[in-house]
Symmetry: C2
Subunit: 157 residues, 2 copies
């Protein structure tokens, strides 16, 4: 029972440290977004979709999925909720009936002004300077790429 100093069985804890830290941090950030987004009646994934649309309106579901790394199983019901909330429209394309183009409504476009105060709250909450934030973002991106590459080599899609 005194195995917590060893490398072998103890590593079942130690190696998990970053993963669990990542998991906890991600949930904490989502939780803060939940508070900040409550007045806008948006969830964090819905907010991400709105960010993508505020940047480029009229994207296909496929394009949104590529931008956010989400598949249609997640996006389809999410987009229907945004439609029901009156923030977007979902139109089949005339030239390719398979694809659905997502367009901001007036309300959807207008919501952007309400969202503009959010980033400064997030920045203040994190409490890192911009240089550190940038380094962390780069590390996250590298981590995502490494992990995805490893997984794909493991379970060849």
């Amino acid at each position: 029972m005194t195995d917590q100093d060893h490398g072998e069985t103890g590593s079942l804890l130690l190696d998990d440290q970053l993963c669990f830290g990542l998991y906890s941090a991600s949930r904490a950030v989502t939780s803060l977004y939940r508070t900040l987004l409550e007045p806008l009646d948006l969830t964090y994934p819905q907010y991400l979709v709105m960010l993508a649309l505020w940047e480029h309106d009229k994207q296909q579901v496929k394009e949104l999925g590529a931008a956010l790394n989400l598949d249609s199983g997640t996006l389809s019901p999410l987009l229907k909720r945004l439609e029901k909330a009156g923030l977007v429209r979902r139109d089949r394309q005339a030239d390719d009936e398979r694809s659905v183009r997502i367009t901001l409504t007036e309300d959807g476009t207008a919501l952007r002004s309400k969202a503009e105060q959010i980033p400064s709250h997030i920045g203040a909450a994190m409490g890192f300077d911009n240089k550190t934030l940038g380094r962390m973002r780069a590390a996250m991106d590298q981590l995502t790429a490494s992990v995805n590459a490893y997984r794909e080599s493991f379970s060849p899609a």
Copy 2:
């Protein structure tokens, strides 16, 4: 409309960078765990519970919740699934009938040997040296603490 260089409206993208990176990295890591844990028939949150129990058997639901920052709404059904899989037992305490103590079964204890190869895969997948991993973990912990403190000051529980 040429606001993407400014701090104000353009920051709707820039300030979100770390959050989105965190969100993506967390999902990527979970996805790798899904692959690695498939032979053990565990999800990542279930694996976290098992890690906690392998470290300290016979914990209350409350203690597991404190260790993993999960509430009973998440843990209760998860623990029932682990019980159904034959990995744990759930017993009301005689001295305090409110609390439920989670105990590893023989199968639950034995599963640990199958899990021991996982951390090295995770370490290889991340591709950072141990010092960097430690720094990132510390940064994640600080981030979680800052964000939670900010959120609590905002929505005083």
